[in-house]
Point group: C2
Chain length 306, copies 2
């Protein structure tokens, strides 16, 4: 794979940025990658493990001379970073981000982008329950989707170049407008995360069942909720606060459906339950066919932990 940018600056050095670094290096997609994190401990960790060609003590220093600046901070911190780096952005450079919410980030960042600099928001749909600079690995984006969300007037060449970078890192790329992105993600990610957090919280609260029991017997289904309920609290707080409307809309529909199923249980309406459960199997089959999961029994977890 050939170089796509001369210099890339990663602002924020968590799971997403560190995985980007290793994926960029794997395929030689950039001449130099600089990095900055607000916390000194994170910068020290990055230097220790060789994350980034150069770790800088200020965001401005990392950004200077970069062709691509990637904002990898929580959604709620995007505006402050954009304000800080705006004066040193190189003319012709592209600014992008990896935030899970797009309308809010566009509103927060766009006004600070100087004339002559491109802004192409993006969102890679990949993650693990781990966070921080040491959580990254080069394969995170392989066969995962990255959504580009161009704003009005986004330069086609800047979009094509960013697409080449994400494809070089192993991802499949789609384009989508911001409002549709925020709705699709509310369904596929934000509502499921809130629901998983809630269920794990309920289990923890229940006086008559101990945490030990919940943990020991988690393989019966509960376990599938805990991975996503272990995700980074700061990131997720910001997601819910900034994608409020779409998330609340989906949660409203979810509650309606849940009440209907609860009523079916209470009244003994087995047919309603059976039909509902039969319908949901097809979606699972679609996900396996689309290569977004494997159909290995139990995901091989049984074997891995035995």
């Amino acid at each position: 794979m050939s170089q796509v940018y001369d210099r890339i600056a990663l602002i924020g050095l968590g799971l997403i940025a560190s995985s980007m670094f290793w994926a960029i290096k794997r395929s030689g997609l950039a001449g130099e990658v600089t990095g900055y994190a607000r916390s000194e401990a994170t910068r020290d960790a990055a230097r220790r493990i060789g994350l980034c060609d150069r770790v800088c003590d200020t965001a401005r220093e990392a950004v200077e001379g970069a062709d691509l600046v990637v904002l990898c901070v929580p959604v709620g911190a995007m505006e402050a970073v954009a304000t800080d780096i705006a004066p040193v952005l190189k003319p012709g450079a592209t600014v992008t981000d990896v935030g899970s919410v797009k309308r809010h980030v566009i509103q927060a960042v766009s006004p600070h982008i100087p004339e002559g600099v491109h802004f192409v928001p993006a969102h890679p749909l990949a993650g693990t329950e781990h966070s921080g600079p040491e959580a990254g690995f080069a394969e995170l984006y392989d066969n995962r989707w990255c959504l580009l969300v161009p704003v009005e007037g986004s330069d086609p060449d800047a979009i094509a170049r960013l697409r080449a970078l994400w494809e070089g890192m192993g991802a499949n790329v789609d384009e989508m407008d911001a409002d549709h992105h925020d709705l699709v993600l509310a369904v596929t990610s934000h509502a499921p995360h809130l629901i998983a957090y809630t269920m794990v919280g309920v289990a923890d609260d229940l006086r008559r069942v101990t945490d030990t029991e919940v943990i020991k017997y988690s393989a019966a289904g509960f376990r599938d909720f805990t991975r996503i309920a272990a995700s980074d609290p700061t990131m997720w707080r910001d997601v819910f606060l900034t994608n409020k409307d779409a998330t609340l809309e989906i949660l409203g529909r979810f509650t309606e459906e849940l009440f209907a199923l609860q009523r079916a249980i209470r009244t003994g309406d087995g047919e309603h339950l059976f039909d509902y459960f039969t319908r949901t199997r097809a979606i699972r089959r679609g996900i396996i066919d689309a290569g977004q999961d494997t159909d290995a029994p139990d995901f091989g977890r049984g074997k891995a932990s035995s």
Copy 2:
């Protein structure tokens, strides 16, 4: 491992029974294993793949002379099977089951067990999204829990022997009373399954987001719900109808908590969200430490599907 029973009869030949057969063979835990399934297609499939030493055309034929009879049918079908086989149960034999609900099964089966036959209900906490006679594999129970739920007057020797069988199949064994079992499972399994079914149904219903989008972008969190929402519809209908009270209790608490989090989103209470999300991380850590899951990033799914 040495033989625990001379002859075991498996009634119902789905994922659980077929995995038991392979696990029993792996360690030589029985002299002969007979099997019966109501559907001719299932019996044919079993004969074709060598599932069971002898596949019988009636439950009574499979049960005759067995030291252990394992009822592996949906919870709602237990009583009919018990009624059918009762006359041919061997004196001194043990009847057990693998149902996900215990109070109901005990009420349905106990009255039909003849004097001189032991009844020791059980529930292995293991499964995959696949069902049917060809879904089984010998490792399913390795390092998983099997809960024994003895009824009043259960014979200690019969319990000890059944424990030895489950341990021989790789499981860890605990004992629990029926009502506590049903509550613990409502938290760790039944409520999570209903919630996952609901969320997958909502995604399928939403007009403004296509199924293709839901499937393509499922790796963002939704995917973790779809595995459990693909489980056998008949089995799960019966679970909810027969563990009604405990499931509805947990769902009630779940709804309360979900409303509190929705209100925090609506009012912008970031601190409430952050504190809640921080608390749930600890449970996940406990599950990994307990060996009921791995902490491999993304469970290696990224690699398996790339």
